[in-house]
């Protein structure tokens, strides 16, 4: 029942030995303090923004209890995805097996919550006690009119990245193109792969797509409806947004459905324009491309005009960047746009490719953060004394202890930063952070040293 890892194209790859590069060979030393989470976490990150389905975690309370409804993925419709559902495996389930309980739970949830589908997540404990989640889902589905989809993602399979890939496999095999759906392509339509609609990011991108006449079939997955996902194979183009962790999915969609894919990012003016132009080019419509070239120029000018005052504040500031996924490289150019210099950069949960791309974009003098534990992070802040830190929520409160301005760019944030509108929001928030009077108060000696009182 375990996911075949060779299928995920991982095990045959040698570990990159380069310092600071994320390791895909799945080894973290016990006690070393690496904080790379687990495969279950990676799978839920990708699948849980499917909004009108139920997500049932077949595990002990630690898996769902500590984590449900904790991401900023937003929905324009159903809120069912935010519900925390778990079989809460107990001692008796460990002894007698949890399959019966799981099946009962699936049927009860179907009846109570009327989901479009139920995703069932296997965890470390359910796998260890030998519960056959595939079979149980199959049996439950026979009694229901909706798909019941197993996701075999026990945490011990590896880190978050592996979970992302498992989720991609599940979407390909069980969701996309399933059911009674047309195969006909929708002209000028795209899927955004790896866009999770954190803080409503998508809503900053859709207006530009609409203005250009491009249809968003679905984001995989962000503000995603199950039926739209099933028809994802009708899109004319896949745009891979967040890292390469879902590359397996777009490759398979290319082979099976003939959908070409491109990579892109909607963080920052430069990347947004580039991505829109790449989309127009790939869609192969000459008129669209001409429209797009004019449009992005106009939007760039507008946006640059709006952020000019923020740029004045931020220009020449020295930053440390620490993040994951596509933001790794996309943030480098976003910060550069604002005139911010990157002193050091590091990443967790990115692929080696994303890491390489970040490195190529950064100034050669910028340091790579090699030790990605909290201790390593603190050390680099102490050494570099940056003007600001741009990083994920995990490091937020750590950074505050160093009394350095900090901006959260990962899933815990409240504000959308994608697209041209997002860039304005980003610049505004970043300059508000840098300008905040609190950092001065934090750094002031108190009580003042002798003789300084009159200054």
């Amino acid at each position: 029942m375990f996911t075949n890892l060779t299928k995920l194209d991982l095990k045959d790859k040698p570990c990159l030995s380069e310092a600071g590069s994320p390791k895909l060979c799945m080894k973290a030393l016990p006690g070393e303090g690496a904080e790379r989470s687990c495969a279950y976490d990676g799978a839920r990150v990708v699948l849980m923004p499917i909004t009108d389905v139920a997500h049932l975690v077949h595990g002990p309370i630690a898996c769902a209890g500590n984590s449900w409804d904790n991401r900023g993925a937003r929905s324009s419709g159903s809120q069912l995805f935010r519900r925390g559902l778990t079989t809460d495996i107990m001692e008796n389930d460990v002894i007698y097996g949890g399959e019966k309980k799981l099946k009962a739970a699936i049927l009860e949830i179907a009846q109570r919550h009327h989901p479009k589908a139920i995703f069932v997540y296997a965890t470390c404990v359910s796998s260890l006690i030998g519960d056959d989640v595939n079979k149980t889902c199959e049996e439950a589905q026979k009694e229901l009119t909706i798909p019941v989809i197993p996701v075999n993602c026990p945490g011990f399979l590896g880190d978050k990245n592996i979970g992302n890939r498992i989720a991609g496999e599940v979407l390909f095999e069980r969701v996309i193109g399933s059911g009674d759906v047309s195969k006909e392509k929708i002209p000028l339509s795209i899927n955004l792969i790896g866009e999770y609609n954190i803080a409503g990011d998508i809503w900053g991108i859709i207006p530009d797509l609409k203005n250009l006449g491009i249809t968003l079939q679905t984001a995989i997955t962000g503000d995603a409806k199950f039926d739209d996902l099933r028809s994802a194979h009708r899109a004319s183009l896949n745009v891979l947004i967040c890292s390469k962790s879902l590359t397996n999915l777009v490759r398979k969609m290319e082979i099976q459905y003939g959908i070409p894919f491109i990579e892109g990012s909607f963080y920052g003016i430069h990347d947004t324009s580039e991505t829109l132009v790449k989309i127009a080019t790939a869609l192969g419509d000459a008129d669209l491309l001409a429209r797009t070239l004019v449009y992005v120029q106009k939007r760039e000018d507008e946006t640059r005009k709006t952020i000019a005052s923020y740029k004045k504040v931020l220009e020449g500031k020295q930053a440390i960047l620490f993040t994951g996924g596509v933001k790794t490289w996309s943030m480098v150019s976003t910060l550069a746009e604002l005139g911010i210099n990157i002193l050091a950069g590091g990443t967790q949960n990115s692929t080696p490719e994303d890491f390489q791309r970040m490195k190529a974009l950064m100034d050669p003098t910028a340091q790579i953060i090699e030790d990605t534990s909290s201790a390593g992070f603190l050390k680099i802040i102490a050494e570099k004394k940056p003007d600001l830190i741009v990083a994920g929520g995990k490091t937020k409160y750590l950074a505050h202890k160093t009394r350095t301005p900090f901006l959260d760019i990962n899933h815990g944030r409240k504000l959308p930063y994608a697209g041209y509108e997002g860039m304005i929001k980003f610049a505004e928030t970043l300059s508000r952070t840098v300008l905040s009077p609190v950092w001065g108060h934090l750094r002031r000696e108190f009580p003042p040293k002798e003789g300084e009182q009159d200054d």
Binding site: G31, I61, C63, G155, L398, R403
Partner: protein
């Protein structure tokens, strides 16, 4: 919970290992090591971090597929050794997870085996807490960990002189007759623990608090963040526990830890299931007066008098409250009983786990339940008291929602709240009334 349901819908339970982490975070110089996969520790860090707005140092043994086949025994040994070498903590605190308890790793023998291989680590205290998920919720994990801390570290002789050793030499000269051991349950916020210590000091006692979140997770900007706990109970304080004049434990879940001290060192032990509410505080204050032989300080009498005046001023509004409460047991009992004694009606009382359910009583039966149950049953209430995850229920029912418990991530300042003692009770009643108006 309804009998027919085979799942938790919007669980209010947190994992016991999260409770264990919380207890360990109140011990100075300790490195917490979760024996499990990296996800187990990631989720705990994230959950505690968004509640306390603090970095949460928590390491893990990073178990992978091979450990499922061969067990995690060697990983645990390696994890302790690597953490000890890399971070040089004063104490290592280990907690188990659902994964390692399911394949039955024997932590005691792993530690013994490590000590044979690495004699240089013999003097480093290692606390082992068994916290599989099925024992309940945060409260149970915290409880077991405090028991393990007290059992392993009380009376501990410090053999090595290290960077921490000189931190409290002055305090060891204090009169043991004035020392008093405090065991706060996880229903008390760092702010509550601070208040508790202040009250005890009003009676001339020197409190030794285990664990002491009031000086580690109180959200202060003075210390640099570190991979080991900074602030909290000192190892020297554990050494002084056996000589304490008395032990006071708070929350029924802390009763056993207090009894361990009582039985091992012959210290009188008093348990206080609640510190919120007039009568609960009266009991506590009278005990302190008796133990100290002192009259109740003027300051405390004044606070009591203010609380009485508040009760009179707002008796009608308090009496009109119909409150649905879903919390971990000790907090559920503390807050609900303080509302009951001022005339409010408790409409629903849902505990995260069943511990103490037969010993703590409210006018209505306390049941074990999730927040989906709260949603089903709270319709006729005027207020919901639950952690931030109760927002879905409150939103659907269009009811005001007073945040309490853990996690509280969408309101400012919860960890700093003081809802115990006379003044704290007054504040709790104000917060309650203000959330319905």
């Amino acid at each position: 919970m309804t009998e027919t349901r085979h799942y938790q819908g919007n669980p209010q339970k947190n994992s016991p290992a999260l409770g264990a982490t919380l207890a360990y975070l109140g011990v100075n110089g300790l490195l917490a090591l979760l024996h499990g996969s990296q996800g187990c520790s990631s989720f705990i860090r994230l959950q505690l971090s968004r509640h306390y707005k603090e970095p949460i140092p928590l390491n893990s043994t990073a178990l992978l597929e091979d450990s499922v086949i061969f067990g995690g025994w060697e990983h645990l040994k390696k994890g302790i050794a690597v953490a000890a070498d890399k971070y040089k903590p004063q104490i290592i605190g280990v907690m188990s997870s659902g994964l390692t308890e399911t394949y039955g790793d024997d932590m005691v023998s792993a530690l013994a085996s490590l000590r044979l291989e690495r004699p240089d680590l013999n003097d480093m205290p290692v606390v082992l807490a068994s916290t599989p998920d099925y024992i309940g919720s945060m409260q149970e994990g915290y409880q077991r960990t405090v028991e393990a801390l007290v059992t392993t570290l009380a009376g501990h002789q410090i053999k090595t002189s290290n960077q921490y050793a000189s931190m409290s030499t002055a305090r060891s000269n204090e009169d043991p007759a004035l020392s008093i051991a405090l065991l706060p349950g996880c229903h008390l916020t760092p702010g509550d623990v601070d208040e508790l210590k202040e009250i005890v000091m009003e009676f001339g006692f020197n409190p030794i608090t285990v664990p002491d979140l009031s000086i580690s997770l109180d959200g202060h900007a003075e210390l640099e963040a570190a991979p080991v706990v900074q602030g909290g109970t000192l190892l020297e304080d554990f050494q002084r526990l056996p000589k304490c004049r008395a032990c006071l434990s708070f929350g029924l879940s802390m009763e056993k830890a207090g009894d361990i001290l009582k039985q091992t060192y012959n210290i009188p032990h008093y348990n206080f299931p609640s510190l919120t509410g007039l009568t609960a505080t009266d009991t506590f204050i009278l005990t302190l007066a008796k133990l100290s032989g002192k009259a109740v300080p003027e300051k405390i009498l004044r606070q009591r008098s203010r609380l009485l005046d508040t009760l009179a001023d707002f008796h009608d509004r308090l009496g009109g409250l119909k409150v649905a409460v879903a919390l971990e047991m000790d907090l559920l009992y503390s807050l609900a009983s303080s509302l009951v004694e001022v005339g409010a009606e408790i409409t629903v009382a849902l505990a995260a786990s069943g511990a103490g359910i037969h010993r703590l009583s409210l006018p209505i039966p306390i049941e074990v339940g999730d927040l989906e149950t709260l949603e089903e049953r709270a319709g006729q209430s005027t207020l919901i008291i639950a952690n931030s995850n109760g927002r879905q229920a409150a939103g659907l029912l269009k009811l005001p929602h007073l945040r309490a418990g853990l996690p509280v991530f969408d309101r400012a300042g919860y960890p700093q709240k003081r809802w115990i003692g006379y003044e704290g009770t007054q504040q709790f009643l104000f917060d309650t009334l203000n959330s319905v108006s």
